[in-house]
């Protein structure tokens, strides 16, 4: 639905049916341009539809705000960049028209036609090339103002924060042969490769295969149909149209950007091609003369595209400056469709183009003989640029072919990269196709490792007059508004290296990225310095060949999330989720304090499935445990569990957990949730690198078991209702023991008597598929016992009440085991263990921080975690690592790391709060604030 003004009456330029036209006249589309309604056909580009309706100006230039129109009628046309809806920088000479499109010019204020920015032309002499390197420097304090002004003038569309995210995609591909360019040589190369047995990806920037054949005559169209049909019928060729090879990287890693797919805005294909065939064709280059950017001045291929592909009449009266066959063909096309071709100027016959004249659009052309011709269309055909970007990226340096007046590949390509078509040389269609086929066959043979060599026929660049600039100065870089006189001035200032000139003037640095400008830039510099073009050299082309959106680079958003088997229950019972690494876990079910009280008074259950779990088997497991843990493991009985701490080789605590011995050669290790993967890698690393002879197999069982901690004074009673085959009495199943049995009918469950919360508790590990079932049974069978779920927050509070530290929360990247208060655990008399030398040293030094229990004097003040502990002079003496209000003892409680000298029970330290207040807190005798004797958990 379009709500807009109707366009005023304008000259309609739509032609009758053309033989090769892409438009479907049976499908009319409506769209708006700057709020004015227009109509076009399916198959039109935005620009062709606008031109058919008489529009000629699509943008204003970057610096001087000169009106701009069609130059090349391709993706790279610098004058045809627009905003479509909320999408900025749309290439309107390429983008197909869609019904309902809202197209707007990106430049021009208050309007495209009357742009006050055009006043810049009056002060052009002050804002020449490199002016921003010389201005806006002083006074420095005004820079923020300068910045705002410069931003105001910056080109580009509007990105709207409210725009919905598009769908972007990524794909990996491994073709034998990837052909970049779907013109006749590219199609032939794909066929040659596929016929030789290779699987081929053929990439074409336009919406359809064919290259220049598409806008050629009847013979070209016949040849095009034959090639297209053959390609389409070949099962070994995957065709990607409206796609572009944006770069070639090491080992033929080729990036292909696919656009406008049915369900995807853009897709980045990461292709690892065994061989790459570059068939990128030729790009017609503009001619430099005064007024060469006036609307109405265009390249011969642009005129032919408009006429033959979109049935658009580009003007009424034309002058054609034709130095080659393309110009002659354009003149013929224009004449055929009723454009009055007033003059065909042939430089080979001495014809000269001096300047184009007009206010806002072309009105006259001045020729070398002094004649002035009134016209509204000037077509130039002065030569070609070979886009050598992909061969450059493969290590080749282009060389200038003086005879052909263009740069060509230098001939230093690796075996895995070949080139064909216009980039290599010129010739009739048959020659291009023959070269393409042979090149494709050779590419396939190289990809498939065949030894037989393929004869590739010669394809030489044809002679062409060297026409770059007329006797007048004009635009060289249309994107950046760089004139040839700017380049001459820069050369006079000493910027005589083409790479420096590029950066100083920004020539070739605009959206076209040198495709239209490079050769002219080099030629003007060569002329200004008196050197040859070959001596001047060219700039290096870097990826990307065409712009890639950030969305395409990001691709499909793949952010793995992990769920516990009990997640459906948590979802349906009001759990507030918290992201813990990749896991989604319940933080609480509404009231964490109530959950704490319920555990302390009745019984609670918590889902601890993300805990790391390693199955350790083999006769040498105890050796492994002795090495990776700081304490001793040689005498752990079957059925017993022991707490252990792991340190890195620097003695820093990296993980903790318990390990139980299930059988003589079978142990079950638990780790922290966050350390599960790292600990698995840690033990495997030691086994594989230092102890390969040890007979130990380690298997991660993180997800094999659903893990539930049943905590509280009534936990034994609850579990007992579901366990028929294990005696849970304290006499036969005491603290720090493990049993295997049946829970709610599920066999093979492990039960540990451990207690992170400081309560009597059982940690059960149930085969994961039954996790939800067992959880639901615990909840239903324990109703009368007051069972309730508790989340991570309640667990954190209770473990803090009990003084159990959390690795990574109460320790950091430099906290060695003795600093964490683990003196009682670290056995320095063991022969060896990971981190021992550092811990021996720390023990001898006796320095470092110490983890202590702390209680603020203000019982209701909970210092923020990371609050500093400071000395009277303000020096940092430690920090609060954990802090909460304890519902159990009714006061604030903390753990903190403090200097060793302060780690004495009764010491009053000063805590500096984030708001700057200093508050006192007392160092406690134990880490535990509640039940330091452990009578509850041992109950």
């Amino acid at each position: 639905m379009i709500s807009s003004r109707r366009r005023p009456t304008a000259m309609i330029s739509r032609l009758g049916r053309q033989e090769g036209e892409l438009i479907d006249r049976s499908r009319r589309l409506s769209f708006t341009f700057n709020g004015v309604e227009h109509r076009g056909f399916d198959g039109d580009t935005i620009v062709s539809a606008l031109m058919a309706e008489g529009e000629r100006i699509f943008s204003r230039s970057f610096k001087y705000h000169r009106p701009r129109s069609v130059l090349s009628a391709t993706f790279h046309d610098p004058g045809c960049i627009v905003q479509v809806g909320d999408e900025p920088n749309v290439r309107a000479a390429h983008r197909r028209l869609r019904d309902g499109m809202a197209v707007e010019a990106q430049t021009g204020w208050p309007s495209l036609r009357y742009d006050v920015g055009a006043a810049n032309q009056l002060v052009g002499r002050f804002i020449g090339a490199g002016f921003y390197y010389k201005t806006f420097i002083k006074p420095q304090r005004l820079w923020p103002t300068y910045e705002k002004v410069l931003q105001r003038f910056a080109a580009g569309g509007r990105v709207q924060a409210s725009s919905p995210h598009g769908t972007y995609d990524k794909r990996y591909a491994h073709p034998d042969v990837l052909v970049a360019g779907g013109g006749p040589a590219g199609m032939a190369a794909a066929l040659g490769a596929a016929d030789a047995g290779a699987n081929v990806i053929l990439v074409e920037e336009e919406y359809e295969l064919g290259g220049h054949l598409r806008f050629g005559g009847s013979e070209d169209l016949v040849a095009l149909r034959e090639l297209r049909d053959e390609v389409g019928a070949h099962a070994g060729i995957e065709v990607m149209t409206n796609s572009v090879v944006t770069g070639r990287y090491d080992d033929n890693w080729v990036a292909v950007l696919q656009r406008e797919l049915p369900q995807v805005a853009e897709r980045l294909v990461k292709a690892r091609a065994k061989t790459l065939v570059v068939a990128s064709g030729l790009i017609e280059r503009p001619y430099v003369f005064e007024g060469n950017d006036l609307p109405g001045v265009m390249l011969s291929t642009a005129a032919r595209r408009l006429v033959n592909l979109y049935a658009v009449k580009p003007g009424q009266q034309a002058v054609v400056f034709a130095a080659n066959e393309s110009g002659q063909a354009a003149a013929a096309d224009l004449d055929r469709v009723g454009v009055e071709v007033l003059k065909v100027v042939d430089p080979a016959s001495g014809g000269e183009l001096v300047r184009a004249l007009g206010r806002g659009q072309l009105e006259q052309v001045e020729l070398g003989d002094g004649s002035i011709v009134d016209c509204d269309l000037l077509v130039t055909a002065v030569g070609w640029t070979a886009p050598t970007l992909l061969v450059n990226m493969a290590g080749d340096r282009p060389r200038y072919d003086e005879r052909a007046a263009r740069f060509v590949p230098g001939g230093a390509l690796p075996d895995t990269v070949l080139a064909t078509g216009g980039i290599v040389g010129d010739g009739p269609l048959q020659a291009l196709v023959a070269h393409g086929r042979a090149t494709g066959t050779a590419a396939a043979h190289r990809a498939l490792g065949r030894a037989d060599s393929i004869d590739i026929p010669e394809l030489e660049p044809a002679p062409h007059p060297a026409l770059f600039r007329a006797r007048t100065h004009g635009i060289v870089d249309y994107s950046e508004d760089v004139y040839s006189k700017d380049l001459v001035a820069a050369a006079r200032e000493g910027y005589d290296s083409v790479e420096l000139l590029k950066r100083y003037t920004t020539a070739t640095m605009g959206p076209s990225q040198g495709k239209l400008e490079t050769i002219n830039t080099v030629a003007v510099l060569a002329e200004a310095t008196g050197r040859s073009i070959e001596e001047t050299g060219t700039t290096v082309w870097r990826p990307p060949y065409a712009p890639i959106s950030l969305g395409a680079l990001a691709g499909r958003i793949l952010e793995p999330v992990r769920y516990s088997p009990m997640q459906p229950w948590h979802d349906s019972h009001g759990a507030k989720p918290i992201v813990a690494g990749q896991w989604i876990r319940p933080e609480h079910y509404g009231d964490a304090a109530a959950e704490v009280r319920n555990v302390r008074e009745n019984v609670g259950i918590i889902d601890v499935s993300p805990l790391g779990k390693l199955d350790l088997r083999g006769p040498d497991v105890s050796k492994l445990l002795n090495f990776v843990y700081v304490n001793k493991w040689s005498k752990l009985d079957v059925g017993s569990v022991r707490y252990g701490v792991m340190c890195g080789e620097d003695g820093v605590v990296i993980d903790d957990g318990v390990t139980g011995r299930l059988a003589a050669d079978h142990y079950f290790m638990s780790t922290t949730s966050s350390g599960a993967q790292a600990v698995h890698e840690w033990v495997e690393n030691w086994l594989q690198t230092s102890f390969p002879s040890w007979q130990v197999h380690v298997t991660s069982m993180v997800s094999a078991y659903a893990s539930i901690n049943i905590a509280g004074p009534r936990s034994r009673e609850l579990l007992g209702r579901l366990v028929p085959d294990v005696d849970l009495s304290p006499e036969s199943f005491s603290y720090m023991q493990v049993r295997t049995g049946t829970i709610a009918g599920v066999p093979g469950c492990h039960m540990w008597r451990i207690g992170f919360t400081g309560e009597l508790s059982f940690e059960i590990h149930v085969p994961a598929g039954y996790g939800l079932y067992v959880w639901e049974r615990l909840m239903s069978d324990g109703k009368d016992l007051g069972v309730g779920p508790f989340g991570l927050e309640a667990q954190r509070v209770m473990r803090l009440e009990k003084g159990h530290f959390i690795v990574g929360q109460d320790t950091d990247g430099v906290t060695q085991a003795l600093s964490a208060g683990l003196d009682w655990l670290v056995k320095l008399d063991k022969e060896d263990f990971a981190g021992k030398p550092e811990l021996v040293w720390q023990h001898e030094r006796g320095d470092g921080m110490r983890l202590v229990g702390l209680q603020p004097s203000d019982t209701h003040l909970v210092p923020a975690e990371a609050s500093q502990i400071v000395s009277p002079s303000g020096a940092i003496e430690g920090r609060i690592t954990s802090s909460r209000f304890s519902p159990t003892i009714g006061r604030s409680i903390c753990l903190g790391l403090v200097s060793a000298r302060l780690a004495v029970a009764g010491t009053v330290v000063t805590v500096k709060l984030p708001d700057g207040r200093h508050v006192p807190a007392t160092v406690m005798e134990h880490h535990a604030h509640f039940d330091p004797e452990g009578s509850r958990l041992r109950g």
Binding site: H174, L558, E559, P560, P565, P610, S703
Partner: protein, 203 residues
Amino acid sequence: MVARSPIRARGPVGREHGWEVSTTARKGGLELCDLTPYSKVLVRAGVLSKAAEVLGCALGLARRAPDGTLVAGTGPGEWLLVSGAGTWPALADEIGGGDPTALTTVVDVTHGGFLIRLSGADSRRVLEKICAIDLSDGVTPDGAVFRSSVARIVCDVIRDDDGGVRSYLLHGDRSAGQYLFDAVLDAGSEFSIGISGYREKEA
């Protein structure tokens, strides 16, 4: 007592060997099927051990044992045995007796991993969107096994064509099962992927 897959059963639901499963009919074409209830056994042994000889399958390859068990060489000295739900692969018993010359362990990982089957002519194109491995017949033919990142999840990928139709089994950590299932569905949406109910080909 009911066991559940990490992947939410869609459509009509039934029970198979104590597992809750989707009984959605096969639709043919490109389809994704949750086979998590299948028995999955991890064997670790030396590559030159007796167990390796019995398993008869090198790293990177898969084969079918006479009882239908799929044996996949998933790592150096590591094999994954997949058989029908509620069964225990006979091979596991055969090698589980122990080898005095080398440590051999057999661990039931049925509950530790998801197992999904992606089948159909376009299955390669779906997988290519979320896995960087070369899926061409030359590199990963029927019977090929590799461990790789699939949608950023470590998976054992087994090319296990089904009656001449290209098919992949994906096995990975259970906790990421729903995520990966959704990721494959999302990648396959442009190819009209569908979900089919549980079936017992391997049984």
